[in-house]
């Protein structure tokens, strides 16, 4: 009963937030406070609701009982987990937003933004809750359209409009595939209800199962941003306002992962090994390509978007391993791999949310997204610097922060392939682990560059010179996530049992071989496998180590301050600093086959010997855009030009077309009738 | 642990090292290191022959081992180094396929060889290992011949192939008759000498031992 109230409560608060945004449209500050406050209260209620479902029973709520089609909400442990993830993110982002939107006061319509923001959250929640294919498609489209409007919120910029267009086209192609997949299910089950889909999953022919999976994988893959369908993501996520991109990258793309799990595990039972292999392969490729593009990206929000592709890849690696184990009838191992995937999903929504908010803060106080133009902000924005550093350490999987635990779990679940008899599985999972290791190292590279270039040394531009610390709500929002990142890193023993219940609810077996000892030790004693790790203890050891070193080595002593060493030349300006592009140059050289860098140099001389100015432009190529999408788009455009022939402009011709179609339909009915 | 198992253990390790040395040839860009790696490979091969001789008790295989040690791991590398010095060739291995892809191709060849051997034979674990190593050596040797420009490297490739055949023969059949082995050694030695002379001639004619130059010979 409490569940009912909580559910209605949190939906109501989001609605309240949306409505009040419209009501107080004229008063910017009031509107934003009320709207974001009610969103964060809604998030708290949603948090409580999802916990009660995870620890208790499935929640089933039918709107129009007895009617056909029956619309209702169905929230099992899996959906509850995703509501939990959404709620956590929404809570932090809403607090952040109250500060962040001040930038738009008087310039843009705040009420519109707040309305869309609340509706966006509501639509994501409804996507998770939907229990009927029709209802799902409606709310899915709603989510896509609202997020489209949010992406083009700053529509006065041309690249934002372009990004929005890109996004809406790609997401509709995805929806097309999803509809195909649902039609296959509906064809077997005779109904659009997800319950009948679940029943149909076991009776479908293998061919239908394969195609249903494949269509769903492509359709949801486009939304999740897997390679090669990722191209919209680095355009759309950076274009949106900072708080929205935190939600889009942190949460929205996860709804696609949710449906992928729902369909491939819950409906289809992950019965085919090749599904697992393809998910694993796509995940591995997404992870490495995502981070490779992130490393060389100078625009920080685009960099974060590319890194989202990478992290979706890591999640898919866990999912793929889980599917492989399940199809080889090792449900326990499958549950462990699933936990790794879910843990990384949770972590990613936290640290990526934190970093996107951080990027938002940097944009707020410096008005530039270009890493090359920043620098030295650690002295100007000390608190943001610490919070972003925590995000950076988490995403680089440094112990004892959150990313480490989920990457450790992912590696361990890949190592569990030892229990399989298939050599192919061992080789595939090991290669995937090697690529994952490379990805991790490159992620550290990328985010080290990000932090170092943005915060350390001297400011590289006027904007950075005059940057100021952001306001308290923004710091509070980021601080909440930073705290969470640390907690997720050192207290996995409290979260994993919960994930275990969730995985058990649809895999059927809990990861029993997964146990927790004192100090929160995670241990994986499978039939022939023992691996243990205690992130919490690791953190304690690490911190205990600090104390004697600090006492021994940093006693107050005379520390003369002098210029940085510049080979005897006076070192003064930021122009002598290493730049971001130089920092990532080795990787660019290493993978020049992928990047195909194009560079232009323009030198003007004031005299024969003295260079007056020097202009260097370097650009890397987006392989998929150039070799895959451009030809397709060109083809479509050419076809449409051809199709233009029938568009004569004459009303008679159009009537003629209608008449023709009518006759064809008649023929069709006659043919069917006989 | 019985002696046989111990012997086969050592054999396995030696085969692993032989593979490592093959990758050293593939991975180095200096002629000297290639020759050195080839010397090491032959040295290990001599050991393999020695172990086979010990475990079968056939004395003629000892002779084969000794000959391998002398000819392949000392004389032939010496001839190589002599040629490199005499013709004052640039010490870099010039490549058609760069190092990293070469190594990856090498690795793929090893895996393919293993599956090839597994699919055609029903023999013991050890001989299957040795045989797949032998096939990989042959194929990598061929690959070296294809992907390297200098005539010297073609020579080295042939010798790696020969080493592969030797490894296969010795571990599968416990060695061919002594007479045949002697013949092969003689052949190899003479082959090396003739090729060496040929390289001198190529060098003299073209002032280079880049086999690309031979393209100019077509009518």
């Amino acid at each position: 009963m409490v569940d009912n109230y909580l559910f209605i409560g949190f939906v109501a608060f989001y609605l309240l937030g949306a409505v009040s945004a419209l009501v107080f449209n004229k008063k910017d500050a009031l509107c934003s406070y009320i709207s974001f406050l009610s969103a964060s209260i809604g998030a708290l209620a949603g948090f409580a609701f999802s916990l009660s479902v995870i620890l208790g029973d499935t929640f089933h709520f039918i709107l129009n009982e007895g009617q056909i089609p029956e619309f209702g909400f169905f929230i099992d442990k899996l959906s509850a987990f995703f509501i939990l993830v959404i709620s956590i993110s929404v809570f932090a982002v809403s607090i952040f937003s109250t500060g962040y939107v001040r930038e738009y006061f008087g310039k843009k319509n705040i009420g519109y933004l707040c309305f869309l923001y609340n509706m966006f959250i509501l639509s994501m929640i409804l996507v998770i809750c939907a229990n009927n294919a029709i209802m799902f498609l409606i709310v899915w489209e709603l989510m896509s359209v609202i997020s489209f409007f949010l992406v083009v919120y700053e529509h006065e910029k041309i690249e934002t409009r372009k990004a929005g267009f890109f996004y809406i086209v790609m997401t509709h192609i995805g929806t097309g595939f999803i509809i195909l997949s649902f039609l296959i299910f509906a064809g077997t089950s005779g109904s659009f209800s997800f319950e009948t889909f679940r029943a149909a999953g076991s009776t479908m022919t293998p061919f239908l199962k394969d195609s249903a999976f494949l269509f769903a994988f492509i359709g949801f893959g486009i939304k999740a941003g897997i390679v090669p369908f990722h191209i919209w993501l680095p355009y759309a996520h950076p274009a949106a306002p900072g708080n929205v991109s935190a939600l889009m990258s942190g949460v929205m793309i996860k709804t696609a992962i949710f449906m992928l799990i729902r369909i491939s595990f819950d409906f289809l039972g992950a019965s085919q090994a090749w599904w697992g292999y393809s998910v694993l392969a796509v995940g591995t490729i997404s992870a490495i390509l995502g981070i490779l593009y992130a490393v060389v990206e100078p625009d920080m929000k685009r960099m974060l978007a590319f890194s989202s592709i990478e992290n979706i890849g890591i999640i898919l690696i866990g999912l793929g391993a889980s599917m492989i184990f399940l199809s080889n009838e090792k449900p326990i191992l499958s549950a462990i791999a699933m936990m790794a995937a879910l843990y990384h999903l949770l972590n990613h929504s936290v640290f990526k949310g934190l970093l996107f908010m951080g990027a938002g803060s940097l944009l707020y106080s410096t008005h530039t997204k270009n890493i090359e133009k920043l620098g030295g902000l650690i002295k100007r924005m000390p608190f943001s610097a610490i919070l972003i550093l925590i995000g950076v350490l988490s995403i680089s999987a440094m112990p004892p922060f959150s990313g480490f635990v989920s990457e450790w779990l992912t590696f361990q679940s890949l190592l569990l392939t030892f229990n399989l008899d298939s050599n192919f599985a061992i080789i595939m999972l090991s290669i995937s682990a090697a690529v994952l290791a490379l990805t991790g190292a490159l992620a550290a590279y990328c985010f080290l560059k990000f932090f170092g270039m943005v915060f350390l040394a001297l400011p590289r531009s006027e904007n950075a010179q005059h940057a100021r610390e952001v306001n308290i709500p923004m710091l509070a929002g980021m601080g909440f996530f930073a705290l969470l990142s640390i907690m997720l890193g050192i207290l996995p023993a409290f979260i994993l049992p919960m994930l275990d219940r969730i995985a058990a609810s649809f895999i059927g077996t809990s990861g029993q071989s997964f146990s927790f000892g004192t100090f929160g030790t995670i241990s994986i004693p499978s039939s022939a496998w023992i691996s243990i790790s205690t992130p919490g203890l690791l953190a304690i050891v690490l911190i205990l180590m600090f104390i004697p070193i600090i006492i021994l080595f940093t006693s107050k002593r005379n520390m003369p301050v002098y210029e940085t060493w510049g080979c005897g030349q006076p070192f003064s300006t930021a122009r002598n600093e290493y730049s971001a592009i130089a920092f990532s140059k080795p990787v660019q050289m290493w993978f020049k086959g992928l990047y195909r860098p194009a560079r232009e140099m323009e030198v003007t001389y004031s005299s024969q010997y003295l260079k007056e100015s020097f202009k260097f432009k370097s650009e890397i190529e987006q392989v998929f855009e150039k070799n895959f999408y451009t030809p397709v788009v060109d083809f479509v455009m050419a076809m449409s030009r051809k199709a233009k022939v029938i568009q004569t402009g004459s009303i008679h011709a159009y009537l003629g077309y209608i008449f023709g179609i009518l006759v064809i339909l008649f023929m069709f009915i006659i043919a069917g009738g006989s | 642990m019985s002696e046989v198992i111990f012997g086969s253990k050592i054999m396995q390790l030696l085969i692993a090292f032989i593979l490592v040395s093959t990758f050293m040839i593939l991975g180095s860009t200096r002629l000297y290191s290639c020759v050195r790696a080839f010397g090491i490979q032959s040295f290990l091969l001599a050991f393999v022959a020695g172990i086979v001789a010990y475990s079968t008790g056939k004395y003629d295989i000892y002779i084969v081992a000794l000959l391998t040690l002398i000819i392949k791991s000392a004389v032939i590398p010496y001839i190589f180094i002599y040629i490199i010095r005499e013709i004052k060739v640039k010490r870099e291995v010039e490549l058609y396929v760069t190092i990293s892809p070469s190594i990856i191709i090498g690795g793929i060849l090893v895996v393919i060889s293993y599956y090839l051997i597994r699919s055609i034979s029903i023999i013991s674990e050890l001989s299957s290992l040795a045989l797949s190593a032998s096939v990989s050596l042959v194929s990598i040797g061929l690959f070296i011949m294809i992907s390297r420009k200098k005539a010297l490297m073609q020579m080295l490739g042939i010798l790696v192939m020969e080493n592969g055949l030797f490894l296969g023969a010795i571990s599968l059949t416990n060695g061919m008759p002594l007479l045949v082995e002697l013949g092969i050694f003689f052949d190899v030695l003479i082959g090396v000498l003739i090729m060496g002379i040929l390289i001198f001639r190529i060098n003299k004619t073209f002032e280079s031992i880049d086999t690309d130059m031979l393209k100019t010979l077509i009518g």
């Binding site: 190592l415 350390l456 496998w529 205690t534 690490l542 940093t554 005379n558 990787v587 | 390790l13 991975g27």
Partner: protein, 314 residues
């Protein structure tokens, strides 16, 4: 337990400079020089500790925190690696993967500090260091897979225990291939020729030295000591994963412990000397040729995995 922890910590701190000194001595022997005494690293460290630190005027707190964090991370890794006994008091705190990530943490902060002063050399060093770390990582993970799949665990104490229990049986083709792969990785991780030159003081060629260029005095001392400890730990990893014979297991008597300790010292010396031999017999490679070296390592570790499957009889 606490005593053992403290003992192990002090042991690695005390042994690390000695190992460095011995490697330098061996190198100078091969270069027909007399070379500094093997205790020289201790004198250097002592001298540095006595000196004042000169600080760049651009730096932030990161610069001061980095030596402490890096050093602590390396020491913490030292408590997870078996040195002379397989039963580690904190063995359950982390496994091989945790050790790698702790080293990564140390490297991360060193590289961050290198950017802090705004010097181009620092940036160059940091960039190259992270680049090499990225190059090494896949081969490292594959060789870990080969080792771990063989033993059935990634916990180091367990690996040493099992491998030393197997006796000569443990030596198999995949162990050899994985060892060679890890040896190449160890060269890269400890910053030795042909990857990095520990003795260079030419700003453009150095990697690790360039990163810590701005440090002086005590801070430099702990940075240097941290690097030496990391080297000792990586050698012990090599020794105790692949050749753990003679290592004492749990509950061993005092004589067994002493013996095990002696065996450990010998193993480390052998690895150190072979490292010195490799260093003297090769020239430093260009940075952009390093992917070739490390692709050899990658392929060997991949073959180690394949041959594991072969030997397993798949």
């Amino acid at each position: 337990m606490i005593i053992q922890l403290i003992f192990q910590t002090f042991l690695i701190i005390i042994l690390a400079p000695l190992l460095s000194g011995i490697i330098k001595k061996v190198k100078s022997f091969f270069q027909i020089r007399k070379g500094p005494g093997i205790l020289q690293p201790y004198y250097d460290l002592l001298k540095l500790v006595k000196k004042d630190s000169v600080i760049s005027n651009n730096v932030s707190w990161i610069f001061h925190a980095a030596p402490i964090i890096s050093f602590a991370a390396v020491l913490a890794a030292g408590l997870l690696i078996p040195i002379y006994i397989t039963q580690l008091p904190l063995g359950f705190a982390g496994d091989l993967i945790a050790v790698i990530y702790l080293f990564a943490l140390a490297r991360f902060f060193t590289a961050l500090a290198s950017l802090d002063a705004g010097s181009s050399f620092g940036g160059m060093g940091g960039s190259r260091e992270m680049f090499i770390a990225a190059l090494v990582e896949p081969a490292l993970m594959l060789s870990i897979f080969a080792v771990a799949l063989n033993v059935g665990s990634t916990n180091l104490g367990f690996i040493s225990q099992t491998v030393s229990g197997m006796g000569i049986d443990a030596m198999s083709p995949y162990q050899i291939l994985a060892f060679v792969a890890l040896f190449i990785i160890a060269i890269a991780e400890t910053g030795r020729i042909p990857v990095d030159n520990p003795a260079t003081h030419l700003e453009l060629t150095m990697i690790h030295e360039a990163m810590i260029l701005e440090y002086s005095g005590r801070q430099l001392a702990i940075m240097e000591l941290g690097a030496m400890i990391k080297q000792l730990l990586i050698f012990s990893l090599l020794a105790n994963i692949f050749f753990p014979w003679g290592i004492a297991s749990q509950g061993a008597g005092a004589s067994a412990l002493v013996l095990s300790f002696l065996v450990f010292v010998i193993k480390i010396l052998v690895i150190g000397i072979s490292m010195a031999v490799v260093e003297t017999s090769t020239a430093k490679w260009r940075l952009f040729r390093l992917p070739e070296l490390l692709s050899i390592s990658l392929m060997l570790s991949f073959l180690a995995l394949v041959s594991f499957i072969i030997v397993k009889g798949g």
